[in-house]
Every structure is written in structure tokens, then in C-alpha cells.
Amino acid sequence: MCGIAGIYNDRGGLESSRELLGGMIRMLRHRGPDGFGLYADEKVGLAHARLSIIDLSGGSQPMPNEDKKVWITFNGEIFNYIELRRDLEGRGHVFRTRSDTEVIIHLYEERGPACLDFLNGQFAFAIWDRGAGTLFMARDRAGIRPLFYAMRGDALLFASEIKSIFMDSRIKREIDPLGLDQIFTFWMTIPPRTAFKDVFELPAGHYMVVQNGRMRIKKYWDPDFTPPEKARPEAEYAEELKSLLIDATRLQLRADVPVGAYLSGGIDSSAVAALIKNHTDTPLRTFSVSFEDAVFDEGRYQRIMAERLGATASHSSVMCGCADIGRVFPDVIWHTEKPVVRTAPAPLYILSKLVRDSGYKVILTGEGADEVLAGYDIFKEAKLREFIKKEPSSRFRPLLLKRLYPYLARSPVRSARYAEIFFAGETGGCPAAYASHAPRWTTTSRIKVFFSDAMKEELKGYENIAELASGLPEEKLSAYDTLSRAQYLEMKTLLPGYLLSSQGDRVAMANSVEGRFPFLDHRVMEFSCRLPASLRMNVLNEKYLLKQCMKGLLPAHILERTKQPYMAPDSASFFSGGADYVQDLLYGKRLAEAGFFNPAMVSKLAAKCRQNRMLGFKDNMAIVGIVSTLLLHELYTDGFASRASEILKLSTTGGIAYADQR
């Protein structure tokens, strides 16, 4: 796991860009503190910051093929590298290291872009084929590892994180109002758009080829929910899912360093921990975050699971209070590189620090199970709404809505009539294909009421749903059942755009910790998406098949508990001490200068939050969205130079190893 950066200029002259490239990679030191490497010829420069996990002695990068015509800089892991290597050796390829990196080079030589179909892993890489004059870049299927790029004149710059690209001072560090509009609706930006005007993101499951100065981007993988022609018996599916999960976990434990696991208290991470314990020889070491506020805390279930695993002695937990979240939040936003509407990434940042301080740099988690095996409430809501719509006169169908959100202490949804209105399918002009997500997007959009008049003017006529829709296969979606459609959307939007990035890669790598996700093994994803829908969610029983195949491995307390969404205290985090910067951000003249929000309305909101009365979703999302936007603006405009120089102080150009090209 690592950080990568590079520059391409078909017109040449890159030999002189070594210093820039050196700065770019040193900005990614948190992703790879174990060493820097750099390669540069006249057209391409590649750089690499290394976190050593596989082949600790032989895996330095950028790495060439045998005749040094092909070079790679690679962030991530190829879990099936041993099997791939065996096959490639059979075809005559000669290997010099034990690394997974070298496997990609040879596979690329053998297959070209089709090499991606053979990789089981989480990756972002760039391959420079000097002979062909081709730069080839790719990201993994689910979007676990990031890759950003920007154009500057004839040059293309790319990197694992945007801050690296900003080392070229000619690239504007300016927040994109359209990107902000998207985050204040979808919680994420729609790739290639990012939160910054001149920086773009290569979408998950896509690759890019650059040749003769021309760029081409192509999709190579997409979730496929086409149902099976003839369903097999449930027990067969359960058996197959279990063996796939065992194999995915086994592969993902491949590392030359110790590997740990997160325990959230839910089914998914418990399943991964149980699979490690029962089906591999890896000693189990587990980590959890717990909350002072009982509303968010799942400590009880984490302890039940740790006990069941016999892992209480090797289990560590960090307690997270509101003030802790407020304190780390600016650092979190420095890493997420986009605004967020929930503080939930912050506790995971605190947790990854615990992992790193405990001497671990690889962690397995249950991320992805809710998307591929249907665990979220948003899927239940979608099914229920459709069910009610079929028989609108039924007095009994709406009563089912009362069963949603049992974890909310007091909810008006318990009143069937209210529930009916809330779930009536408020689509806000959203096309029917996105009905499942319309309520979330409409609710979130309400926080745009805080946008300044200038922002509203700039956004006039902009349709963010149309931009989203332009990248989605409408025909395919309309052929899916309601559940599959909702899952597809979730896998294409929130999963890569928020969960795996702001709440995943960025907050783990901030502390040099690599997350691994057995549920996002592409075989598990492909198998799960093509299950009969009723096995993913049986009526309203979420992750039905997963529960079936985990019986015996997980205690009933975990299997049968009501699903609790992972959340953290939002507004309270900024008004409980620990976040003195909020005063400056929300009341000072900088708020007006930044120009994004209406200062008078923001101060009313802040006053309301400060009183710390019961706040609704909207106020919580609004305050987190506003604080994070203002932090992002400060950190990346005026504050960038000083922060960058602090980071550069941690390393020297002398510490960069230059690759020998000849």
C-alpha cells in the first residue's frame, strides 16, 4: 500500500520536472513512509511512496520489466499474485522479486488493458510503456484505491491524492461550486468531478490510456444484477457464498506483516473476524472504536464478539467523545479533500491511529457487505414504498413503515400517518429509476438553503441529477427489480464516493494503515449481485443469505440484533470544547469572504447548535457540511503553503531513490 504520483508530457522536457515530482511524492508520505522512489525520462515521470507489506526487501518502485521498457508505479495489493505468477512463469516471464507489483507488469505485457480482468485486488497504478509510448492507468473495480489527475498545458499530472497535484502551483486550488452542490445532495462528487475545479478523478472500474497526447477513458467493470435464469436451492447458494468468503479472507491475509481486523459490533466485521479465526492460521488481533454517547455506542456487541472469538486479550478499543471528534476534524478534512455531511470519518481516523500505534499496518473490515448483500435501511424503504404503492388504499400496508428505525429513541415514524407521508416516495422531480435514493438526496439537498445568494446564482439551471444520470446505464437499471436498482446505485455512488474514500482509504492511510475488504473481492461482489433478490433481502430481513451462512460462526446476539447504522455525534462535536476553530470559521469575516454561505443564516444555525437542544438530521448535516467546506477552503487556499512545508520537512529530496533507466 502506497502513494503514487506522476507527470506525462508528450512534448518531452520532463527531465527538468524531477524536483516537482519529488515534492509531489513527499506530500504523500503518510501513505508510504517506508521509502520514496522516482523514475523520469524525457516524457514521463513516475514516483512512489512505499508502505512495505509484501516482499519487504525486493518490492521497491517504480519497477521496470526485464528490458526496462515498461515501468510501473502501483498503489494497492494484488491478492492472487501467487497464482498469476505461476501462470506467467509458465509462459516464459522471468521474475526478479517476490512482489505482487512485478506480476502486473508481466500481465500487462501479456494482455494489455485486459490484464485488469485477471487481477483480484485493490489498486491504482500507472504503467509507462516506453516502447509503445503509452501511459496506462487504472483503478480497481469497487474504487478502494484513489487516482486523481489534472491538466496543465501539455502536461498531465496524476496522484493518489489531490494535495500531491497541488504541488504544481500553476494548478488552481479552488473549490468547485458544482462539486459542492453534489456533495450537498449525494454526499459525494460524481467522478470525474471532484471538490476542486481543475482536478479530476478516474472513476472506479475504469482505466485511462494516454498516447500521442490523446487521452481515452474506458469502463472495464460494472456491477451486474441480472438475475439467474433458474434459481438453485438456497442451501447451495449459502454454501457457495461461505466458501467464497473464506477464500477471499484467506487471500486478503497475504502479507509479510501482521494483519488485524476491525470489530464494529455488527454482523459484517464479526463475520470477517470469525472467518479469520476459524478458517485461517492467522493470529487474530482486533480493534474497535466505542462512543461515550450510548446512542452511538456498540461496545456491548464488540465485547460479545471479542469474547466469542476468545480474543479479549488481543482486542483493543479506543473511546471517542465529542471533543475528540472536534479536535481531529480539521486533520480529517485535510485528508478527505472534500466536504462531508457527517463526522463519521473522524472516529475511524482515531481508530486507524490506534491500529498504527499498536504496530499494525493492515486491517480487514466488513465494508461492502451492506452494499453487495443488501443491509441498508434505504433498501428496505425502497421495497416498502413500492409495496404500499401497489395497493394505495390498504390501511394495513403503511403500518409496516412503523417497523423502520427501531433504534431511534422516539420517532414520529411510529405514527403510521407520518410514516406514510415521509415514505410516500418524495422523489423531488427525480427520475423513477432513482426513486430509492430520492428521499436521501431530497433531504440532504435542503441544507443548500444555507448557500449564499452568489452561490445560488452560480448554480442556477444546474441539474446535478442529470449529471449523475449521464454516467448511469438507464436501460439496464430500468430492467432491474427495486432492490437491485437501489443496490446498484449505492455501489456506484456512496460506496466509492464516500465510504471507501472519506470514510475509508483517506482516514486509514492518514495513519499509514491499509484497509482490506473481503466482501469487495470481485468474486464475492459478482456472486452476490446475481443472487435471487429474495436471498439478499428476504422480505425485510436484510443480508438474509449472509446470516444463513454465518449461523454457527456468530453468536445469536450478533446475528439477530437490530442493525444499527454506523454514526457519530455530529453537531455536538463542534460545541463541546476541542474545536476552538469553529468560532473563527462560523462568526469571523472569513465566512463572508469565503462566499459559499449566507452568514446571517449560518449564525442562526450555529446559535441553535450551540444550545445543544435536540437537533434534526438537517441541522446536523448542515453544520458538518458548512464547517467541513470552510475548513477545506482554508486548508487548501491560504493555508496550503504552510501545511505543505510542514509535511516536506518530514523528508528530504536526498531520501528519494532514483531508478536506473539503463
Binding site: 422516539r410 420517532s411 414520529p412 415514524v413 411510529r414 405514527s415 400517518r417 407520518y418 407521508i421 415521509f422 431530497t442 433531504t443 435542503r446 438553503v449 444555507f450 449566507n598 446571517a600 443564516m601 449560518v602 442562526k604 444555525l605 441553535k608 437542544r613 435536540m614 437537533l615 434534526g616 438530521f617 438537517k618
Partner: protein, 85 residues
């Protein structure tokens, strides 16, 4: 009516953040206009409970009582009368 004015002030301050654009008529549905969401209703409940010293039962937490300034004012009036009786 004073109760309606108080409710309006509360809504403008807390849900419009001071910016009253005149669209908030006494009979406008708070839900359908998007002003109040599922958790916003609970804010409204605690305002009513604190300000008027009444207790809202779960069974009373229905749109007929809470979904417009008119309806809420009527509900408060009924509850305070009950309490006085």
C-alpha cells in the same frame, strides 16, 4: 392569535434560520413544503412541550396535530384547555 405568532416565530428562527420569504402561511403543510423532516417534528414537539408545559403522547404525534401552524395552534389550545379543566 398569540399562539400562532409564537409558533411562526419559532419556525422562522429554527427552520428558516431567520429568513422569512413569506411562503410560510398558516395553512401550509410543514412536511410537504419540506420545512420540517422526520426529526424536525421532534424539535417541534419539544418546543411545544417546553413552551406550553404540556406533554405530547405518542398517539398525538400525528400530522393532524402538527402539520401546519393552524393545526398546531389548535392542538395546543385543546391541550392547555384540557390541562386547565
Amino acid at each position: 392569535m398569540q399562539i400562532s405568532a409564537d409558533i411562526r416565530d419559532f419556525l422562522v428562527e429554527n427552520f428558516l434560520y431567520g429568513r422569512d420569504d413569506g411562503a410560510l402561511r398558516d395553512d401550509v403543510s410543514l412536511l410537504e413544503s419540506g420545512l420540517v423532516d422526520s426529526t424536525g417534528v421532534l424539535e417541534l414537539v419539544s418546543f411545544v412541550e417546553e413552551k406550553y408545559g404540556i406533554t405530547v403522547k405518542d398517539s398525538e404525534l400525528v400530522p393532524d396535530n402538527f402539520d401546519s401552524i393552524d393545526k398546531l395552534a389548535g392542538f395546543i389550545l385543546k391541550k392547555t384547555r384540557e390541562a386547565a379543566a
